[in-house]
Symmetry: C2
């Protein structure tokens, strides 16, 4: 079994390689960015799985994943990530990822997950799926806001004007202003910039 690990954190990569190879039966090749991963896939063949760090030079969100999937059709590719925006898991699986591995996963579980994915299964930790099912209900901030307020906050977190948000949601501008004002109170923001920063900081969107 041969896998390719791409992560710009040498510390994790080195220790991970040592750990996996110590587990036996798995050989690894490791690179530090997306470009390295693509050239490694060109230079060698026989990879059973590619592990791509979501935060890594060249990835640009899910675009990097798409490129690898398109570049070598048939190879199984999984994302590995410490901090990923909400919804990435679902989007990644929709694009054809073999799995999603959070860095909070115990090392021993990772080895199992690798074998699982190489066997052709899709690996996603249960808690990430349930969090998706709850539609972002886990975060204290998200809990306080209504659905509409969350939609409006998403617009704020993208730096949009009230008018733009109104158009996107098919609502009038006064309505947006109302939601904006209400959500400020709930999340403790003094203006839209602070609201956007709070939303980003919380990992929403």
């Amino acid at each position: 079994m041969k896998i390719l690990i791409a992560d710009d954190h040498d510390l994790l990569r080195d220790t991970l390689v040592a750990f996996i190879e110590g587990a036996g039966g798995i050989s690894t090749v490791s690179v530090s960015d997306l470009a390295g991963a693509l050239t490694a896939l060109d230079a060698q063949s026989g990879f059973d799985l590619v592990l791509l760090d979501y935060n890594m030079p060249g990835m640009h969100g899910l675009e990097g994943l798409k490129r690898v999937v398109a570049h070598r059709s048939g190879v199984r590719v999984a994302l590995i990530s410490g901090e990923a925006p909400r919804g990435v898991v679902q989007k990644a699986m929709a694009v054809g990822a073999a799995g999603f591995v959070p860095k909070t996963l115990p090392a021993k579980s990772l080895v199992n997950a690798i074998r699982f994915m190489v066997a052709g299964e899709q690996f996603v930790p249960a808690d990430l799926m349930s969090e998706a099912a709850e539609a972002g209900a886990q975060h204290p901030i998200a809990q306080k806001l209504t659905n509409r307020e969350m939609q409006v906050l998403e617009g704020l977190a993208e730096g949009k004007a009230n008018k733009e948000i109104a158009r996107d949601l098919n609502l009038s501008e006064p309505t947006i202003k109302l939601h904006v004002k209400n959500l400020y109170r709930k999340i403790g923001a003094g203006n839209r910039t602070q609201a956007a920063l709070i939303a980003r900081e919380a990992g929403l969107f």
Copy 2:
């Protein structure tokens, strides 16, 4: 030699512990958040070094570091981080950290760094210091902006109003508005919220 490792990424923690103990001569205790680190320090003694992840539940920036330093005076504490805002390294050392370990450091180097710090030295990779010396000149965004514009952008990135920024910098509000307008063009922002998000995204501040 006995060290305490606090990181919420089990994947790194597990593999790191295995790697370090494999290197010989170092015993490790590991926890997954700041609270765990504090209780571990209470429960046991004889730690030669504490490694704290900068991004970890309970840390709240450098506050967590300060708490550990204050909590057990005399113990040597180092930060370890994958993504840290600019200036954290300097601030951490000023607070009394024993070192700063980026996760891009090779695993073998980490073992050396640990021994180095336990010996009483301060460990900071040269590239991080030089980047500090250049005063943030490495990022394409920072290069385009003048000093004043950077100061104003910092205010924007904290969600401040023009009036507040003016007061902080001892300038008039019209001056701030001028700088704000000019820096929008340079970084490609359409409004202050986008400017704040761009600045954060770029890792400035």
